[in-house]
């Protein structure tokens, strides 16, 4: 039994819904109680879909339990087939139905419907959303494509020969995008555009945009590209084994990874690698390398960044942050244990400890401890950053409605790199402004712990870095919300109050507890204490680096056994750490 406040992943049947909702002509019958129908709103509200997800719920009630819940399953499957006429049916149970063991998949099979019925066994008490999506995609793919598989041992022509003899361009499938994925819609467009430029056609995009019939012809393409390993990796491995299709596994997020992706694709398909790279550079150049080299970006050097998300996006972000923006990665982690190995490797290369957890509270502690200047994370880290008064950009699911922008906004490919530059750098303090703040911190307008001037409305007020676990800070924020009306505080559905840091609430929070001397230090036992002078000096430091200075000074003092931090200790620490 685990105590959870927020969860990074939903149950596995929500993963199955992401697959079904992204696809065409599939219907999913879910044996589940009425409350589980909430999952529809993830798609209709957060992603703003214009159709209901293709899901029928049996919505059994307590009074049905002694009776014929199996009959309800059969009835629902029959009705759903009659009404929606899908090419294939997925049938499964949610957590509650799993306990009553009706075997919905088996029941559906007894109906002898004229379309494939794919039973889904998604253990809810063991697995989570991404796993459920991957498994659903894999099971449906198997059901549709296996009849078309060549007999085992059949040789497949090398990729180059296949497309050359057939007198066409090489082709690939893009695997992994689903409904509700972070920027999947635009990544698919961008990668298709990129591949088109180097002369590779996209055959099928799956699961999103495809029908079961499309899955049946996945084996026709020359190569499979795994855009999102969390969902598409298992399917690609099966296709590789069954159809002998090679797999391109580089995820093209960032300038370097996009080049690697192009190189890998050219190699696998037998295209001229240098020519392919040259084409991308001339025809689809990214502005990011120059934007990052431009002298005004010098201030980005060694910005402390904390990264958390799904493993694929976290690892990609770590590479972009350290190699393409010159940030210092001070934290790296993921919530999906299944892919922890990749994160461990990346963290090791950066010389930091990986954080593998799906406990939101643990992530919050780690961020507080690391005192970063920027958090790259999920909707949850946005939440944490808001509480701690830090800037945050979302780089990974789970995300909220504001992360489904109207504009074209991919993460992958050349345009994705541009988007990343803008969205990560945007929240940070501009270089000269930072110096001015440092020099003239007593200016009455600065004194109010201002954020970057170009971001006035969005800036979190002062850092609440030193805030202990919950107390007044959060309550002050709550107070601001409560002022409207009690129930209204919850916000009316996903659209309400999604603005980035709430300035009023954050100010209130800051006012009440952020700068209370020694709150943070008091929390950790045995930490050195601060003299009043030193506290005063600390306040002169611009708020966006104050957390870092506090932390550096404390660890400096602790290492040397200095019990009380004076102004001198602060400057000693500054000399020791430099500007890091």
């Amino acid at each position: 039994m685990q105590l959870t406040i927020w969860t990074y992943e939903g149950p596995p049947h929500v993963g199955a819904m992401r697959v079904a909702t992204g696809m065409k002509d599939v219907h999913y019958v879910l044996h589940a109680p009425q409350g589980d129908t909430y999952a529809d709103l993830l798609f209709t509200m957060i992603e703003r879909r214009d159709h209901r997800p293709p899901v029928t719920y049996t919505t059994f009630q307590a009074q049905d339990l002694g009776g014929d819940t199996a009959g309800m399953v059969k009835q629902s499957v029959r009705d759903a087939y009659e009404r929606f006429r899908p090419q294939a049916l997925l049938v499964g149970a949610s957590c509650t139905a799993e306990l009553i063991q009706d075997d919905p998949g088996g029941l559906a099979e007894t109906l002898n419907l004229p379309v494939p019925v794919v039973p889904l066994e998604l253990p809810s008490y063991q697995r989570k959303e991404n796993w459920g999506a991957s498994e659903t995609f894999y099971q449906l793919l198997r059901a549709m494509a296996l009849p078309h598989a060549p007999p085992p041992g059949t040789e497949r022509l090398p990729v180059v020969e296949r497309w050359q003899t057939e007198g066409r361009r090489p082709s690939c499938n893009l695997l992994g995008p689903t409904a509700l994925g972070f920027r999947h819609r635009d990544d698919v467009i961008e990668v298709t555009r990129l591949l088109d430029a180097i002369g590779v056609d996209v055959s099928v995009v799956a699961p999103m945009t495809s029908s079961p019939a499309d899955l049946a012809r996945l084996g026709d393409a020359d190569v499979n590209v795994v855009l999102y390993p969390e969902v598409g990796g298992q399917a690609a491995t099966w296709l590789e084994r069954t159809f002998r299709q090679p797999v391109v596994r580089t995820v093209p997020i960032g300038v370097g990874a996009t080049r690697d992706f192009v190189r890998e694709m050219a190699e696998v398909t037998g295209l001229d690698v240098d020519e392919a790279l040259r084409i991308v550079e001339t025809r689809l150049p990214s502005r990011m390398p120059w934007w990052s080299r431009s002298v005004d970006s010098t201030y980005l050097t060694d910005k402390r960044v904390f990264i958390f998300g799904d493993a694929t996006h976290a690892v990609a972000a770590a590479r972009v942050a350290s190699e393409e923006l010159g940030f210092q990665v001070v934290g790296l982690g993921c919530y999906n244990r299944e892919f922890a190995r990749e994160v461990r490797t990346a963290a090791k290369a950066l010389g930091i400890e990986p954080l593998i957890t799906d406990d939101y509270l643990e992530v919050e502690d780690a961020i507080r401890e690391a005192a970063p200047e920027l958090v790259l994370g999920t909707q949850m880290e946005r939440h944490i950053a808001k509480r701690l008064g830090l800037f945050c950009t979302v780089i990974s699911a789970p995300v909220h409605v504001q992360d489904f922008p109207a504009r074209y906004s991919p993460q992958m490919g050349p345009e994705g790199a541009n988007v990343i530059f803008d969205s990560w750098v945007h929240p940070l303090m501009m270089g000269l402004e930072e110096h001015l703040l440092g020099m003239f911190q007593d200016d009455f307008e600065f004194a109010n712990d201002r954020g970057p001037s170009h971001l006035h409305a969005e800036a979190p007020a002062a850092p609440v870095l030193s805030m202990a676990t919950e107390p007044e800070g959060a309550n002050a924020g709550e107070g601001a919300l409560r002022a409207a009306a009690v129930p209204a505080a919850a916000g009316a559905g996903p659209h309400a109050s999604n603005q980035a840091p709430d300035p009023a609430g954050a100010q209130a929070a800051a006012a009440s507890s952020a700068e209370a001397p020694g709150v943070g230090t008091a929390a950790s036992a045995g930490a050195p204490s601060w003299t009043a002078d030193a506290e005063q000096e600390l306040k002169k430091i611009p708020f966006f680096v104050r957390g870092k200075v506090r932390r550096n000074t404390e660890s400096f003092a602790a290492e040397r056994g200095i019990p009380t931090i004076t102004v001198d200790t602060m400057y000693d620490a500054k000399a020791h750490f430099g500007n890091r």
């Binding site: 039994m1 959870t4 969860t7 992943e9 009705d79 809810s124 063991q126 084409i279 009316a492």
Partner: protein, 489 residues
């Protein structure tokens, strides 16, 4: 559309005539005489857990610990949104396979979770263990667990249990089961003779008023001022703002329902001697006045004083409705079942704003508590094919909605955008539960919630309807590129 025609093609719907009311209300065909379309298909309604979203804000010293699955946790954060600034006072103890396989003792595990939680939140005075479908199905006895934990943590923190499971409760019923769990803990009213000494059957003079059902604090304060002006008191609100300060109850207590989903709680309070005052719900000017009148009559306050005490409120309320009537009058409205507020809202919109209800769907119909509402929703003025439906079969109901093409459809978040994409104007039902809408001074705000989508629809009329989600993303046109020459060797 006539309800009887619905029957023909629908194996699951049964049309049940409403029992003839014992009190005649004159010759007009009231809503109570209408047949009710009962449906038992797929429901598209939240489970009772969702009540926690407002309950945890209302009772600021309470924490709600759901004992359930990852689905329950995910429901809560999706329905509540992850946008709440502060850490919420709810969480989920997620049952995992070790608990199910009996490898871990579930009760011990729960104790550990509760200890961790209370260490983290020493400010909590009441901890609710909230049952879910999984905890019900595995027959985890949360009342027993609550008793045991109460033994450990009381008096600092009281531990209680109730069920919000989707197999037993719909959306707003979660508040009913929660309050029901609090009733036995309410102190005996000091000014009541006590159940033991009361002569059975003898009427007890009203000694205090208990308003039952969560309303916004600001609304409670307004109402208290009117009760004061009427000389009615003491007045208590239930749930209270602090769970540790429960209001008293006894045979002198009179009950006024603020929300239509409070049913079993009323029953429990009646068992403690309290008596329910019969009134419609305090929505709109008319509903609010009738609601106060029920209390006034019980306290022997005369009509003149009632009219005087409510004069300014009624006047402001009526004025605030004016500008919305223009937008709403004559518009046809369709309610999907959601919160139980559907019938009172239809009554308000019909009688005070001239809207025409075409279907009013409710998760369930509690006739005793809806009696006044049904009397008011007068049949004479209703659309020919008016349907009052109970339960749901969402696909059939969507068919009906598409067929009648109402001007405004009130529905849950899962249905709103798909209906909008079909060109229907919608109003999210959930907002009606999260917004202060009761009382004279909120009548205009309530009307505004319905008028806004219509005004918006009109404002945007020049925009083309969008093909929202093309199945295959369009690839920006690129010049055709010849394939690369194959690599040497």
């Amino acid at each position: 559309m006539n309800p009887s025609t619905l029957d023909a093609g629908d194996r699951r719907a049964e049309t049940v005539p409403a029992p003839t009311p014992s009190v005649s209300t004159g010759e007009s065909r009231g809503c109570r005489d209408l047949p009710v379309l009962k449906e038992r298909g797929q429901r598209e309604v939240f489970c009772g857990l969702t009540g926690i979203i407002w309950l945890h804000r209302k009772m600021q010293d309470a924490f709600f610990l759901i004992v359930g699955s990852r689905t329950c946790a995910h429901l809560m954060q999706s329905a509540a949104g992850v946008m709440i600034f502060a850490e919420p006072r709810f969480g989920t103890a997620i049952i995992d396979e070790r608990d199910l396989a009996g490898m871990a003792d579930v009760h011990q595990e729960l104790d550990k979770v509760v200890t961790r939680l209370l260490d983290r939140r020493p400010d909590i005075r009441t901890l609710f263990l909230v049952g879910s479908c999984p905890s019900e199905v595995i027959k985890l006895d949360l009342s027993r667990a609550a008793e045991r934990l109460n033994g450990i943590h009381a008096p600092d923190c009281r531990v209680l249990a109730y069920s919000g499971s989707g197999i037993e409760t719909t959306f707003t019923q979660g508040e009913d089961t929660c309050l029901q769990a609090l009733v036995p803990k309410m102190p005996e009213a000091p000014d009541s003779p006590g159940t033991a000494v009361a002569t059975p059957g003898a009427p007890v003079a009203p000694a205090s008023l208990l308003v039952v059902g969560t309303m916004a604090d600001v609304v409670e304060d307004q109402m208290r001022r009117i009760f004061d002006a009427l000389g009615i008191g003491p007045v208590h609100f239930f749930p209270p703002r602090r769970s540790a300060e429960l209001p008293p109850v006894g045979p002198g207590t009179r009950l006024l329902l603020a929300q239509p989903w409070i049913n079993e709680t009323i029953h429990a309070l009646e068992k403690r001697g309290a008596e329910r005052l019969h009134a419609p719900f305090p929505l709109g000017v008319e509903g609010t006045l009738a609601w106060f009148r029920a209390a006034a009559e019980a306290w022997g306050v005369d009509e003149a004083r009632l009219m005087e005490a409510t004069a300014s409120g009624r006047e402001r309320g009526a004025r605030s409705l004016e500008r919305h009537r223009e937008v709403l009058a004559g518009k046809r409205i369709f309610f999907f079942p959601d919160s139980q507020l559907e019938l009172p809202l239809a009554r308000f919109l019909h009688r005070e704003l001239g809207m025409v209800p075409v279907e009013v769907g409710m998760p369930y119909l509690h006739r005793a508590h809806m009696e006044q509402e049904m009397e008011l929703l007068d049949g004479d003025f209703l659309d020919e094919g008016f349907v009052l439906s109970e339960g749901q079969d969402v696909d059939l109901q969507l068919d009906r909605c598409r067929a009648v093409r109402p001007d405004l459809t009130v529905c849950g978040l899962g249905l709103a955008n798909p209906l909008e994409a079909m060109g229907l104007t919608t109003k999210w039902a959930i907002e009606l539960v999260f917004t202060p809408i009761q009382g004279f001074d909120q009548a205009g705000d309530l009307a505004e919630l319905f008028a806004r989508p219509l005004r918006r629809h009109a404002a945007l009329r020049s925009m083309p309807a969008m093909p929202v989600m093309p199945a295959m993303p369009a690839v920006p046109a690129m010049p055709a590129v010849p394939a690369m020459p194959p690599k040497e060797g």
